[in-house]
Amino acid sequence: MLERLSQRDKRAFKIGAICVVGVVAFVFGTKWIGHWAQVRRSLAEVKAKLETISVDNTKQAAVASIVPVFEMPQKEETQKFLFRNKLNEQLKKAGINSKPLQVLPAGKPTQDGYRLLRLKCNGKCRFGQLLDFLARLNENSYLVGIEEMRVKCDPKNRQEVELDLTVSTFVK
């Protein structure tokens, strides 16, 4: 039968076949591509999730040197005592005579949803004791950061310093 067809007919058949294939490919192809795009989006979400917990080793080491220990924040009532006790312990360990620690009210919630609670302390110590205290301060697992520090030397005895320190912690 095919032999009876003219070249023109054969060409028409070929073009027709190509068009049919094209239409089918378009109909199913667009759906398929849409599905693929959706799959890729969910993959990107999962990957982003993974990236938050799997950090590059070098970065991880750098972060660990700054934050060697960390406890997740508790409610304000619990957290402020935990933080105060730990800080007091560290001050004592360093031999710093501090006045009673003063808790400042917590501020507005940050981006992470936690509020920043500040703790203020005043005291007198030797310069060496201050250095010891600062060196061990990162071991406080409730500490977020040092907000303020004022050091003033005693003009009569330059090894003696007067210290005003404000540190912070996160609370729920």
């Binding site: 999962v46 934050v67 500490l143 303020e148 003009p155």
Partner: protein, 494 residues
Amino acid sequence: MRSDVANTVKPALSGSAVAIAQEDGKLKAVELRRREGGFEVLWAKSSEGDDRNLGVFAVECGLSVGPIGRTEKDGDRMVVVGFGSAGVAFYRISAPAVKEKEIEALVKLQAETRLPLPSEQVEIAWRAGRIHDNEMTVTIAAGRRERLQEFVENVRGLKPGKILLDCEGIVKAWRTFFGGNASPTDAVIVSMGVRSTQVCLAEDGQLSNAAVLDTGVDDLSGEEPGAEQTETTEGFVQDMRSVLELFGYAEPDELPVFVLSSGSEAINGVVSSLVSAGLDARVAEPLSKELGVAGEIGAEELYEYRVPIGLALMRLESEAELNIFGRLYRPSGEEKKRHWLYSPKVACAVAAVMLVMLVIVSYAVDAASPGAIEKRLNTSVSDADMSLLVQRQKLIRTVATERPDLLELLDLVNSGGSKGVLLDGLQFKKGQPVSITGQADNPDMLYKFQESLLTKNGIKQVEIQNATKDPKGDKFKFTITFHYKNFTKKGTAK
């Protein structure tokens, strides 16, 4: 003297072969085509004695010459050019009857030991002959590459389909038109020119050795048949004996010697001399009945054009030749047969399949990955733990950015001091510049201290806020502010 057998060059006809050869200082060409039961010489043409320009002669023969390639007027006729065998050496070796590739390696090795020139200066061609007791006779033709290259450049403009050895044409012509097919298949064929003679050894009807003697018909003419041999004739006979010995036949009557002739007295005289010398010499005259257009081409012309006719026959019958030009010349349009894997269509098809596979695999990987990752995570940690882990990591990173290293800051400030500068106090507050107070012996010390601080990593914008002389002493009291990393920039404090 120009000799046109057919007065005019006829237009190209389908399935014909044009052969051009040089003989006795003349270019000779014929066009031959098949006809029912034989062949037909369409035309034959020879150049003037001194006219050796192949290009001009080819144009006269109606062939296209030049870089354009073959044109319509060439039709489908095949062109073949003959190469004089004078510069070609023949060797015959015995090799075990093995596969063609192995023979090729054997031939190369053996040829290298026999050739007088380094192998890179020589082109060789070989042809396997008869097999006897599992041993095969192989004919090797070798020619100096430089000379062959020169010849190729000379004929390239004609774009010949083949370049063949003249002596192969002689053997072919003998077999087809001089009764060779009815004669023993092993024979010596003598083709006498005006001033030289081509002696060919045919085994199984194929050329297996050849030699050229510098004595021709002109040198031997004038000798009366049966008369006492002259010095020239004796020399010729002696040369023939030597050639037969060279061919491996020490006994003179061991092999029939066919002297191609148009019936001329001179050649008859030569044959008589050879017979007298004990050789089995015979005259081989053209059998014009084998050719068509008998009225237009006679025995004499057939004899004169025996070489191009033989070459054209070889081309028409696609006979396997000793292709000594195989590596130097590849006819246009005749591409080397490549493995099907090298076909562009196959390459495109493979590329297309690979592309489709790539898309499918990419999709499959993408589709499977999220599920697989989550499954893996779920087996390691629960959802609650996972979110807690994520939260903890985020918080730790936040804390890391919130912690200024005040020990490092004190160290930097302390190391920046020098003799003559005493520090009284330091004040750090997030979002504000660090402020240090102290005393200096003189302003120079203060400036040095400022410059020293500027060199410290992490300290920027060091400013002397005030420097006043202490009314109680000689010292200058000062306050310096600077920024420490990002902690003292505005907006850092929360």
